[in-house]
Amino acid sequence: MAGKDIYYVPHGSKWPLVGSLALFTTFIGGGMLLNSAPGAKYVLLLGAAAIVYMFAGWFAEVIAESIGGKYSKQVDTSFRMGMGWFIFSEVMFFAAFFGALYYARVFSIPWLGGEGNGGINGTHEFLWSSFQASWPMNVMPDPSKFTQYSDVIPAWGVPAVNTAILLTSGLTVTFAHWALKNAERAKLSFWLFATVALGFIFVFLQAEEYAHAMGDLNLTLNSGIYGSTFYMLTGFHGFHVTMGAVMLLIILLRCLKGHFSNKDHFAFEAVAWYWHFVDVVWLGLFIFVYWV
C-alpha cells in the first residue's frame, strides 16, 4: 500500500457512464412493461444485462487496481465510509416500509374501525360501518375489491427456522473473518461456504413459504394492507438476502483465488457488514411482521 503522503486519484473510466446508460435502459424497459408496450421485456433484459456487465467490469477494474497495490490507506477509508453510508441509506429505505406497517396498525386500521380520529371524520360511519379493526386484518373495509385470505404465516414455523438460519449465518461469517485474519485458509473457505449455503437455504425456504401463502392461504399482494406490507417488506428483504448471498459467493471465489491478505480485505468486510444489515432487518421483520 502507498503511504498517506501522496494522494491517489483514479484515472478516468467508462463504467460510470455505462452504469447510467444501463439503469436508463432498465427504467425505460420497466416503464414500457407497465404500459404493456410491445418489446418491453427485451429492453428490460438488455438493461439488466448491461447492469450486470457494468458491475462485472467496474469491479474487475477496481480489483485489478487493488491487487496491483495502487490504493492507499486513505482510499481504503473512503471505501469504508462509502459502504457504511450506503447501508444507512438502505436502512432508511426499509424504514419507509416499516413506517407504513406501523401507521396501518396504529392509526389507519383502528380509525377505519371507528376509533379516535376515525370516529370524528366519519369514514367508519358513512363508508364501511360494518368494518371491525383487527390484525391480521383479513376482512377488508370493502371486501369486494380485495383477495380474502384464510390464514397468515405463523411466526413459529418456517419464519422461526429462517431466523435461526440467518442468525447462524451471521456467526459463520464472523468465524470466516477470524479465520481470514489468522490466515487460516481452509477454515476461511469452510465458514464462508457455510454462510453462502445458509443464505441460499434461507431464500429457498422463503420461496417455499411464498408458494404456500399464495397457493394454499390465498394471501397475495392484493390482500389489503396486510398482504401489501407482508409481501413488500419480506420481498425487498428477500431480494437483499439474494443479492447478499451472491456477493458472498463472489467473495468466496475471490478467497479461493487468494485475493485477500490477513490485513487487507475490505471487500470481505463490506460484504460482511451488508450481511449483518440484512440480518438485523430480518429481526425487525420477524418481530413486527410475523410475531407481534
Partner: protein
C-alpha cells in the same frame, strides 16, 4: 502571498475528458452547466404558467397541460436546477477548501452526474406521452397521481433514478470531508460552506430513500394491487403524505442549507470581518437539520390529523425559527461596522438575507395550525416557498457563481453587467412574488389555471414581474459566457477580504490542485 501552485498541469482532451471524468472541477462544471440548462427548462414552464395567469379566463393552454406545467416545473427546478447547482458548487469548491486532491470517490462522482441527463430524459419524455405529463402536483399525492396515464411509471422511475444520483453524491461529499481534509484542517476550522454541505449530505442520505420507498408504494398500488394508500383495503391516502413529507421537509433544508453556507462565505469577505459566531453557525445548521425530521406534518394541517398531532407539529415548527434566527442575526452582526463594499456577490448575499427572512416569516405564519387553515393551498404558500427558494436559494447560488467565477475561469466577470443583473433580478422577483401574498390571503387557490376577476390586477403585476425575471436571466448567461471567454485577469485572491484555502490556489484553478497534502499556515485557516 504564497500560492499552492502545481508544476505539471494537463487535462485530458476531447469528449473522453467529460464522459469519463474523475476530476472534481470538470464534474463540477458539468453539474453547473446542467443546472443552468434545467433552470431555463423549468423557467420556460414558469413562463407558460404566468402567461396563462396574465388574465382571468383560459387563454393559451388547457387545464390539464397547465397542471402538468406546474408539476414538472417544480420537479425540474428542485431536482434539476437547485440541487445539481449546489452539488456542482460542492464538487468544485470542497476539495479546494479543505486541501483535498479531489472528491473521495471520483468515479462514483462521475456517475452521480451522468445519471442526471438520463434521469431528466426519462422525466421530460413524459410530456409527449399518452395522457400527458404528470399533472397531480410535484408532491404526487394519491389517489390523484394514480390517474396519470402512460407517464406514471416514468415519473416514478425518474424519481428513483435521480434519488440514486443524489445519494451517491451525498455519500461522496461525506467521505470527502471526513477523510480527505489536509492535516491541520480540523472540523471546527472548516469553511462554513463545507459544514453546511456535510449536514445537507446527511439529510440527503436519510430522506431520499424514504421518498424512494413512498413512490415504490405508489407504483405497486397502481400496478400490483397493493393498498398502502387505499382506505378500502385498510391503508390510508394520508399515509402517503406522512411518508412523503418525512422526505419533503428535510428536502427543503437540502435546498436551503448550502445557500446558508454560501452566504456565510460571501458576507465576511465583503464586510472584511471574520464570520460572527462561527461555532453557533455550525450548531444552528445541525439543529435545523435535526429538527427538520420532526416537523413534516405542518405541510398537512388541514388533512384531518388528531389535535395532539397538529399541536406537536406546530410547536416543533416554531422551534426551527430559533436556529434560523441565530443565523440571520450572525450575518447581520458580521456586517455590523464592517468595511463593506457592494460587489455583485455581496448584493445577492444581502438580498438573500432580507428576502429569505421574509420567506421565513411567512413560513412561521404557515406553521401556525389555526391560521394555516386559511392559508393552506393558496397563493400565500406559493409566495412563501418562492421567497425561500428563488430569492433565497437561487440568489445564494447566483452569489456563489459571481464569487467564485473568477477562480474558475481566471477572468473577472463584467462587474457593471453583474450589478445590472442583480438589480433586475431583485426588483422583478419581488414584483413577481410579493403580490402573491395578497392573492393568497384573499383566497386565490394554487394550481388552478383560471381565477375570479377580483384577482386580475395582482396577477397581471405578478406575470409582468415573472417575464422580467425570466428575461433578466438571459443577461446572466451572457455574463458567464463572456467571463469564460476572457476579460481582465483575475488575481489568485480575487476578493481582497476573502478568507479560505481556495484563494491560495492560482486563478484559474489548475486541473489538479493538491497532489500531496498542502502545508497549511495559520492564515490559510482563517474564516
Amino acid at each position: 502571498m504564497s500560492t499552492l501552485a502545481h508544476e505539471h498541469d494537463h487535462a485530458p482532451s476531447g469528449l473522453k475528458r467529460w464522459l469519463c471524468s474523475t476530476n472534481h472541477k470538470d464534474i463540477g462544471t458539468l453539474y453547473l452547466i446542467f443546472a443552468l440548462t434545467m433552470f431555463f427548462v423549468g423557467g420556460a414552464m414558469a413562463m407558460v404558467i404566468r402567461a396563462e395567469l396574465f388574465e382571468p379566463g383560459l387563454q393559451y393552454v388547457d387545464p390539464q397541460f397547465y397542471n402538468s406545467m406546474v408539476t414538472v416545473h417544480a420537479l425540474v427546478m428542485i431536482f434539476g436546477a437547485v440541487m445539481p447547482a449546489g452539488v456542482g458548487l460542492a464538487n468544485w469548491m470542497i476539495p479546494l477548501m479543505i486541501g483535498a486532491p479531489d472528491m473521495a470517490l471520483p468515479r462514483m462522482n462521475n456517475m452521480s452526474f451522468w445519471i442526471l441527463p438520463f434521469g431528466f430524459a426519462l422525466l421530460l419524455s413524459t410530456l409527449f406521452m399518452d395522457g400527458g405529463a404528470p399533472a397531480g402536483g410535484w408532491t404526487m399525492y394519491p389517489p390523484l397521481v394514480l390517474q396519470t396515464g402512460d407517464a406514471f411509471p416514468f415519473l416514478i422511475f425518474a424519481v428513483h433514478f435521480l434519488g440514486i444520483s443524489s445519494i451517491m453524491g451525498a455519500i461522496n461529499i461525506i467521505a470527502t470531508v471526513f477523510n480527505m481534509r489536509a492535516p491541520g484542517m480540523t472540523l471546527m476550522k472548516m469553511p462554513l460552506f463545507v459544514w453546511t454541505w456535510v449536514i445537507t449530505s446527511f439529510l440527503l442520505i436519510a430522506s431520499l430513500p424514504v421518498l424512494a420507498g413512498a413512490v415504490t408504494m405508489l407504483l405497486t398500488d397502481k400496478y400490483f394491487g397493493t393498498s398502502f394508500f387505499d382506505a378500502a383495503g385498510g391503508g390510508d391516502p394520508v399515509m402517503f403524505q406522512h411518508i412523503f413529507w418525512f422526505f419533503g421537509h428535510p428536502e427543503v433544508y437540502i435546498l436551503a442549507l448550502p445557500a446558508f453556507g454560501i452566504i456565510s462565505q460571501v458576507i465576511p469577505a465583503f464586510a472584511r470581518k471574520p464570520l460572527f459566531g462561527y461555532a453557533s453557525m455550525v450548531y444552528a445548521t445541525a439543529s435545523i437539520a435535526l429538527l427538520s425530521f420532526v416537523v413534516w406534518a405542518h405541510h398537512m394541517f388541514t388533512v384531518g390529523m388528531p389535535l395532539k398531532g397538529e399541536l406537536f407539529f406546530m410547536y416543533a415548527t416554531m422551534l426551527i425559527a430559533v436556529p434560523t434566527g441565530v443565523k440571520v442575526f450572525n450575518w447581520m452582526a458580521t456586517m455590523w461596522r464592517g468595511a463593506m463594499t457592494f460587489e455583485t456577490p455581496m448584493l445577492f448575499a444581502i438580498a438573500f438575507v432580507i428576502l429569505f427572512t421574509i420567506g421565513g416569516f411567512s413560513g412561521v405564519m404557515l406553521g401556525m395550525t389555526p391560521v394555516d387553515f386559511q392559508y393552506h393551498d393558496t397563493y400565500f404558500v406559493v409566495a412563501h416557498f418562492h421567497y425561500v427558494l428563488l430569492t433565497g436559494a437561487v440568489f445564494a447560488l447566483m452569489s456563489a457563481v459571481y464569487y467564485w467565477l473568477p477562480k474558475w475561469t481566471g477572468y473577472m466577470y463584467d462587474e457593471k453587467l453583474g450589478k445590472i443583473h442583480f438589480w433586475l433580478s431583485a426588483i422583478s422577483s419581488n414584483v413577481l412574488f410579493f403580490p402573491q401574498h395578497f392573492l393568497g390571503l384573499a383566497g386565490m387557490p394554487r394550481r388552478i389555471p383560471d381565477y375570479n376577476i377580483q384577482f386580475a390586477d395582482f396577477n397581471m403585476i405578478s406575470s409582468i414581474g415573472g417575464f422580467a425575471y425570466g428575461l433578466s436571466q438571459l443577461l446572466f448567461v451572457y455574463i458567464v459566457i463572456k467571463c469564460a471567454l476572457g476579460g481582465k485577469k483575475a488575481k489568485d485572491r480575487v476578493w481582497e477580504g476573502a478568507k479560505g484555502l481556495e484563494w491560495y490556489v492560482p486563478s484559474p484553478a489548475p486541473h489538479h490542485t493538491f497532489e500531496t497534502p498542502p502545508k497549511l499556515t495559520k492564515e490559510m485557516l482563517e474564516h
